[in-house]
């Protein structure tokens, strides 16, 4: 079972956190800090498995992580998961993000953290692997996004309507109206 999934950058700022077991907010932040300290010390040439820290760990836990450019993807698992399998799963997750966001980078994760959470829930549910076929995952996510967009329409974006009205500068627009030229009286033929 996967106990937690953490994504943070090279300075330890959390970009995505999902705990599948209850921890108080303070404990969660401590766990993130501790995991960052353990993982950032590792050189790129050593193996990607670590015994878990004292807060989330215990004897049955290990941290399996992958470092991509500026982000660390860390899965904290117990002994029922295959270590090499989880490495592949992290790869599937990142490739799915890449497909959904077109050349994903850290900024995408920062500004669309809710979308990333939705993608993650299609892959891992309740700490267990749900689906690993990338195309299937992407299809489901796109269908759900379409559903949201359909609901949005005009009614669900009142802010857009409100701000459109606020931005309408009526006096200026009246001044800018281009009236068609009236024919001059001189040219009128009776």
């Amino acid at each position: 079972m996967i106990k937690a999934i953490l994504v943070f950058n090279n300075h330890g700022k959390p970009r995505l956190i999902k705990f599948f077991q209850y921890y108080s907010e303070e404990t969660q932040q401590n766990i993130i800090r501790e995991t960052f300290q353990l993982v950032s010390k590792r050189d790129d040439s050593v193996c990607n498995f670590l015994e878990g820290g004292s807060l989330i760990g215990g004897s049955d836990f290990k941290l399996i992580y992958r470092h991509y450019a500026t982000l660390y993807f860390v899965f904290c698992v117990d002994s029922s998961e295959s270590e090499l399998g989880i490495l592949d799963l992290i790869q599937v997750f990142v490739e799915t993000l890449d497909k959904c966001f077109e050349n994903v980078c850290e900024l995408d994760l920062i500004f669309h953290v809710d979308k990333v959470q939705y993608i993650l829930s299609e892959i891992v549910m309740g700490g267990m692997v749900l689906e690993t076929n990338m195309n299937e995952i992407v299809t489901q996510i796109e269908a759900q996004n379409k559903l949201e967009k359909q609901e949005a329409g005009i009614s669900a974006a009142p802010s857009r309507a409100v701000s459109a009205v606020k931005n309408m500068n009526l006096p200026q627009q009246i001044k800018d109206i281009k009236l068609p030229d009236l024919p001059s009286i001189r040219n009128l033929q009776f």
Binding site: K18, E25, S45, V46, M125, G126, T132
Partner: protein, 495 residues
Amino acid sequence: MPTPIRLRDLIRQIRAARTAADERAVVQKQCAYIRTTFREEDNTFRCRNVAKLLYIHMLGYPAHFGQLECLKLIASPRFTDKRIGYLGAMLLLDERTDVHLLITNSLKNDMNHQTQFVVGLSLCTLGSICSPEMSRDLAGEVEKLLKSSNAYIKKKAALCACHIIRKVPELMEIFIPATRSLLTEKNHGVLMTAVVLITIMCELSPDTLAHFKKLVPNLVRILKNLIMAGYSPEHDVSGVSDPFLQVKILRLLRILGRHDSEASESMNDILAQVATNTETSKNVGNAILYETVLTIMDIKSESGLRVLAVNILGRFLLNTDKNIRYVALNTLLRTVHADTQAVQRHRSTIVECLKDPDVSIRRRAMELCFVLINGSNVRTMMKEFIVFLEKAEPEFKPACASKMFYAAEKHSPSRRWHLDTMMKVLTTAGNYVQSDVVANLVHLISSATDLHAYMVKQLFKAINQDISQQPLVQVTLTWIEQPSCRDSANSGVDL
């Protein structure tokens, strides 16, 4: 009340903060706005505010005042609201709060919704935060969904059932009949979740384990189809067809075949096939091989198969990928007691791993080498260990020194060699030698009366070189105090 800002504007504001104090100020201001908007019971912007709250929560600020709002979002008929509401529920609620009981009704309604995604959301949330009471209330609904014709819903229902069973094992019986038929599915997602569900059932209850033993031929057949099927683009990962499913099936076979010779018998062929046919150039192939080896070692497999497994591990040890080496050493450590002979063949490779740059690999190699020491290889092994001890990190030294002492005691070919080796350990490990080793060493020296003269010379030389090593000095002084030493002195040994 101005329009609440959007999530991305909030994120921009927080990122623009230069110091932690600035960030706290921005967050507090926004939280105040959000709280006010919640009090105003405004439906239109609720989902945006909850999204902002979840972001703030991720950064570590308290967000419990948003819990009720998530409930309101879940009850809304719109998909957008439900999506963020359920996400908020998963992140902010847990079974300790009373609030979660209120969503049971919404969950029940949403499980019967026409849109599959809404059903999916409710199953996902139930699977993440269910409590025993919720599990009891909703188990019936989940079981109904397990029999649905929609593969998307089925696989989520299967994983949700896993959680319910974990929370309330008595509910397992409800799910057993539906589970058997899941294995006949073609959809790999459903197959994989079904295998996981059966695995958990078997782990929790030995009766169910016996019941599912009949499924071994089905599982073998599925595995066979996966390997023989040839190229299937939708499940292919680097040339291997659905490795995740293969790994899960292998794990289930391991649990079913443990302690059962008949079941193990029927698996021998397929395990041999997987072990020989899997492509090992990429990580996926190695992941499958790793799982196969673990299964072979755990069940009552025939000896030829075990030798094959150990050889695969030996090959892993030579792999350039450090993850594979780590995993191989780990497995060898777990299985060496069962099959010491086979592992001995790879001793030289394991000894090489003592010099690996990665500390986790070195630690495992050290433990494994200690198990492999026997009478015939003790001299060479000890030499390697002394070299290892010289370069080891401080956290290794005490354990290593103690273990070397016990190993030397068990297997030493001669007293003199024994004492020489222990001297080397003392001087190399220096202050990291533990007190029980010191005591045992004193006892050892005292009993080796014929070598007292020799020992005196050695100890004196060592102390002369470096008097700061406390254990060394301790040993010397304690021994000199002993009556046996005084006797030797009286009998003419030149102290």
